[in-house]
Symmetry: C3
Subunit: 203 residues, 3 copies
C-alpha cells in the first residue's frame, strides 16, 4: 500500500513538472528555462513545506534521482511532447494526472504537519501550500498572475477539502495510509467535478 502512495507521489511530481515544461515552451524558453520551470513547479510546494516545518534535508536533495529524472524529462520534451501539445485528449490526460498530483501533495503536507503536532487548520493549510505553491512559483516565473489566485474552476479549494478529508479519516481510523487515500480521492473527485461542471467560487 505504501508503494501505492509512492506511485501517486511520483505521478504528482512528474505531472507538475510537465505543467512547468508546457509553460516554459509556451514562453519559448530554452532547455535551462524548461528544466528550471519543471523543477520549480515540481519541487516548489514541497520545498516551502519543508522550510516551514524545518525538515532537513529537503526531499528532492535526499531523493537525488528526482532532479535527474526531471532533467531527462526536460530533454525528452523537445522531441516527444511537441506533437502532443495540441491534442485535446492529451490536455485532458494531464488535467487528470495533475488532480492526482494535487491530492497526493496535499496529503503529504497535511500528514507531515499533523505528525509534527500542528493545529488541524494549520495542517490543512500546509496541505494546500504543498499542493499549490509550485504552480504559483511557475506562474510568477512566467510573469503571470498565478492561476490559483484567479477566478477559474476551483483548485486550491479541492486541496483544502482533501486535507480535511485526511484529518477526519485520520482522527477516526488512526491509519495514515487510509487517510492519505481519502485525501487523494476527495481532492481528485472534487477537482474532476469542478472541471466538468465549471464550478467556481463567487467573487
Amino acid at each position: 500500500m505504501n508503494a501505492f502512495i509512492k506511485t501517486i507521489e511520483a505521478i504528482g511530481i512528474i505531472t507538475f513538472a510537465l505543467t512547468g515544461i508546457f509553460e516554459a515552451r509556451k514562453k519559448e524558453m530554452d532547455l535551462v528555462g524548461v528544466y528550471s520551470l519543471a523543477m520549480i513547479t515540481a519541487f516548489g510546494g514541497g520545498t516551502l513545506r519543508d522550510f516551514i516545518l524545518n525538515r532537513h534535508p529537503l526531499f528532492w536533495t535526499a531523493h537525488y534521482w528526482y532532479p535527474i529524472i526531471l532533467l531527462g524529462l526536460s530533454v525528452l520534451s523537445s522531441v516527444v511532447i511537441k506533437g502532443m501539445l495540441h491534442r485535446s485528449g492529451f490536455v485532458t490526460f494531464i488535467l487528470v494526472l495533475d488532480a492526482l498530483g494535487l491530492g497526493s501533495f496535499s496529503a503529504s503536507g497535511t500528514s507531515l504537519a499533523n505528525q509534527f503536532g500542528y493545529h488541524p487548520f494549520v495542517s490543512a493549510l500546509m496541505g494546500v501550500v504543498t499542493g499549490v505553491f509550485g504552480g504559483v512559483l511557475r506562474d510568477i516565473a512566467g510573469n503571470e498572475i498565478p492561476y490559483v489566485f484567479q477566478r477559474t474552476e476551483i483548485y486550491a479549494t479541492c486541496a483544502f477539502a482533501g486535507a480535511w478529508g485526511y484529518l477526519v479519516v485520520m482522527r477516526v481510523t488512526s491509519n495514515d495510509v487510509i487517510a492519505v487515500i481519502a485525501c487523494i480521492a476527495a481532492t481528485f473527485i472534487l477537482r474532476m467535478f469542478a472541471l466538468r461542471y465549471k464550478i467556481r467560487l463567487p467573487i
Copy 2:
C-alpha cells in the same frame, strides 16, 4: 504594556491582510485568491524574518488563530468592504493603520535580531524586511512592480528610521517595551509626514 504591543501587532497583521484583500479584489480574484493575498501580505514579512533568524515554529503556525481570523476577514470582506472601498475616509483610515502595522513589524524584526546578537545594521535591515516583505510579495503575486521599490512617498525608509529608533532607545534604556514604542512612534510619525507632505527620495 505588553498587551499594548500585542494589540499593535494584531492591528498590523489585520491591516496588512486588508491591503492584500484590496489588491485581490482589484484583480477580481475569488475567495482563494483573496485569502492567499491576505495571508501572503500579513505573514510574508514575519515568515522571512523567522527563516532568516532560524526561528521555529513560524509565528503564524504557532498562533493558529491568526490564519483563522484572516479567513473570516476574507469571507466578510465580500459583504462589508465593497461599499467602503470608494470612500476616501476609509482609504485614509487604512493608511493610518498600515503605518502602525509597519512600525510594529519593524519593531518585532529589529528586536528579535538584536536579541539574537546580530550587528545593529543587520538588525535594522531585519526590521525593514519584516515590515515591507509581505507587501513586496503581495505586489509580485498581483504581477506588479512592488510598491516599495517604486518612487512614491517614503515607506521602507520610515521602517528603517523606526528600527534605528528602537536600537538607540534600547541602548540607552535597556527597556524593550519603551524601545518598541519608540520604533512604532518614529515609523508612524515619519510615515504620516511623508504622506501629508509627499516626501519622496530623489532618484
Copy 3:
C-alpha cells in the same frame, strides 16, 4: 590563495549588486528600490543556498559589512554610474566581472553541498542555484521574465559546467582551492565564449 578566492567572491557580490542597481535605475526606482535590488541580486542566491543546506547564520548577516558596502554603492551609484551607463566599454567590463562572480558563486554552492555529503548532481544544482537565483529574483522584482529562463547566450549552463569542473577536480586532487579555481575558470571561459560567439541552447 584563500585571499584570492575571497577576492573573487567579493567581486561576485559587488558585480551582482551592480546589475541589480542598473535594473533599478532603468525602472526609475528611488534609493530604497536601488538598495533592495542590489541586495536581492547579490544575496539572493547565497540565501537560498543557506536555506536549502540549513546553514545559519546566513552569510550576509554574519558578514555585516557586505550590506553596508552595498548601501554605500547604492548611494554612490547616483553620482558615479550615471555617465558610465551608456559607454559600451563599461557594459563589457560588467559582463566580464559578472562571469567571474557567477563562477565564484557556483563554486561556493557546489563546494558547500559537496562538503555536506550531497549527491554530485545535487551539489552541481546547488552551484547553479547559488549562481543564478539572485538574478532571477532581481528580474521578478522588476516584473520581467527572468533572464536565465529566456533563450539568450548560455548563462546557467556555464555555472553548471563550472560546478562539474569543481567536482571532477575535487575528486582527483582533493584540493578545495584548486577545485574552486577550476570551477571559476570553466564558468568564466565558457561564458566569455558564449558571449563572443552568441552560443545559445536550441529550443
